[in-house]
Symmetry: C2
Subunit: 387 residues, 2 copies
């Protein structure tokens, strides 16, 4: 029979509905509603939970505030107490719960970084640069891959928002039409620094390389090596890098009296296969190009492979210049002439700017800043027609 939880009475019990699948009872004697506690006898889950400051406090018979202060080397702590706490913490393998810390301090000690991909070495180098600065500062980095997909990028922003990152580093996808989805961070007071692939919006902090200058140098180099019909595999038009590199290409041509030929400019969405298609399209032209400037190394390499397949000699029949200087560019044959970007510096600079904003009391007052790094032309076999 059912006994009342309060008075122990059996007779005055009446059923009174079912709540969330459980029978509810009513004791008429003490006017008390109740449901029987969970069937399983509440065997406390003895899975050893990680030690908390409370465990340390209990062990030492002190209060958790004291433990907390001891662990953080706060002032106003007796040296012996501090020693004892530290020792006990070590013994109990105490690891602070970053979730609780984050909740209490409203600071997750995490920064997010969204990159389009990390199969090529370009972004990994940047990430490593960023981590070199973040980790010693006690921050860790949550890496998201947008996979060159705008919806994925938006999804990433929500994940990072949920994770309450303290700041965000972003390089946009080739199809990101605008940066509205990053305005959420602004509204939440979370600083954002864009790098490499940025949007036209100038009211943000960003770290870029001098794409115009790099492209200009690369194309001039091709011209100096005797190229007259120089093609360009251009990046997606939404990105500044594409626009600026295209501009550098065009200006270099113009300054050397070479007429622009629209059929020599093909657009590439950063998808590997598409680079191959672009190259084929160029080589199929009635008068194929004798030089090629690609918006990045993977595209240049893809074009080189197509050229090889077709027996087009590099650099004699086609001189090629890429952009970024990924490690593979040195391995391929002939070596790919390219514009080296200081990838580690990009990462380090971007995250330092981010930390400046995080640490400034009032993010609003920080002036958005654009940091421009230089590229270096690395000359290899792919462009040297007359050695």
């Amino acid at each position: 029979m059912i006994k009342c939880v309060k008075c122990g009475e059996v007779d005055a019990i009446a059923k009174s509905g079912i709540v969330r699948g459980k029978q509810r009872y009513y004791c008429g004697k003490c006017d008390y509603y109740f449901t029987l506690s969970s069937e399983q006898p509440l065997t406390i889950n003895h899975k050893r939970h990680p030690a908390t400051i409370l465990d340390i406090a209990r062990e030492l018979q002190i209060s958790k505030s004291t433990v907390s202060r001891a662990l953080h080397g706060h002032s106003d702590i007796n040296e012996q107490t501090r020693k004892a706490v530290l020792e006990t913490a070590r013994r109990m393998e105490y690891q602070p719960n970053l979730l609780a810390y984050g909740l209490a301090k409203n600071k997750s000690m995490t920064v997010g970084i969204i990159v389009p991909e990390f199969i090529n070495s370009f972004f990994p180098f940047i990430i490593i640069g960023a981590q070199e600065v973040a980790n010693p500062a006690g921050y860790h980095v949550l890496i998201c891959q947008s996979n060159e997909s705008y919806p994925t990028e938006v999804a990433n922003t929500n994940v990072l928002l949920s994770s309450r990152v303290d700041g965000l580093l972003v390089s946009l996808t080739g199809e990101t039409p605008n940066i509205d989805h990053f305005k959420k961070f602004e509204r939440a007071g979370i600083p954002v620094v864009y790098f490499n692939r940025v949007c036209k919006d100038t009211n943000v902090s960003q770290v870029i390389v001098d794409d115009y200058d790099g492209a200009f140098k690369g194309v001039v180099h091709l011209i100096e090596n005797g190229c007259r019909r120089i093609a360009h595999i251009a990046g997606p038009p939404n990105l500044q890098i594409s626009q600026n590199r295209l501009k550098g290409y065009l200006d270099a041509l113009a300054q050397h009296g070479i007429e622009k030929d629209d059929s020599l400019i093909v657009s590439y969405d950063l998808n590997p296969q598409q680079a191959t298609l672009c190259a084929k399209q160029l080589f199929d032209l009635p008068t194929p190009p004798d030089g090629l400037f690609a918006v990045n190394d993977p595209a240049a390499i893809a074009a080189m492979l197509v050229a090889k397949e077709r027996g087009i000699k590099i650099p004699e029949e086609l001189a090629v210049v890429g952009f970024s200087n990924e490690p593979t560019s040195a391995l391929i044959e002939p070596g790919l002439t390219t514009l080296a970007q200081p990838m580690g510096d990009i990462g380090r600079t971007a995250i330092k700017m981010l930390f400046d904003q995080i640490e400034s009391e009032d993010h609003e007052t920080i002036e958005p800043e654009t940091r421009v790094l230089k590229t270096t032309l690395i000359v290899r076999g792919s462009s040297l027609k007359h050695k």
Copy 2:
């Protein structure tokens, strides 16, 4: 003058020390100690904090429990209430606070992954495989780079422990002597799955490829292509992959009646520069090798570059076989014959095994399992002496 905070009295006030830099007062009348509250008139920091369920609750004049239940589609929620909550949440750009969630549920929805590096494409492909499974399941992946350094690996484990990851994927560094530092996870009930680079400890879950078989196939391939003095650039001895690939190499030789020559086996610590040194050492031998089996592609490629430098013809004078099939192996000239590893599968399999353990009620009862995937010999120019 100073007024008592309790009784408002002015005369009975006495100074009583300074606490943490602030003057403390004592009211003799009501026997009460106090310090004056912070000078700044407590202007509530109006930085718009992200919306919480409490904000939604206030907006809708309901309790936060109801909001929580509505957001999670729990039963026992009025359809209209649910709609209203969802709508308000959308309007307020509500993003659940994962820190608070994690604290409450004791579940961070995060899994950690420790890799030695991610400059080469090998680990990135595995990570992508893992994310393909993790992200749709609502988990995110905290990527740590041990940078082939044992102390860094240990540091990584502590970070991940602090972050209260729900599970861990690990590929060891070349210098990790034992896996004691992962026992912490076991003690905390956090499942760990090792992949690719594992230790001899058999009492753990792991995903590996059949290294012995791959190495055997690769070396047999070299023998069939006429090599008789086959060198081996071996990995660090602490790793199973090194041991098994070495064993496959030795057995292949033995089965084909080729005497083992210790001078042909050099050890490589996975450091890029060291691979070059190893190659030089081999090529400097009185009787240099006519075939080379390297423990991984980067080492094979490094050796190929040294060979080129020295005018050693590949494959005529030296046939080369690598391991892993990284994208670069197809780009280099001649193409590198190698044993393809199913990298995406490794990542997917490993994280699925991890999830199985995470989701099982009682991790202890899970039998450690070793999943072995197959390698495929990819034949390219680097090994075909007689075409």
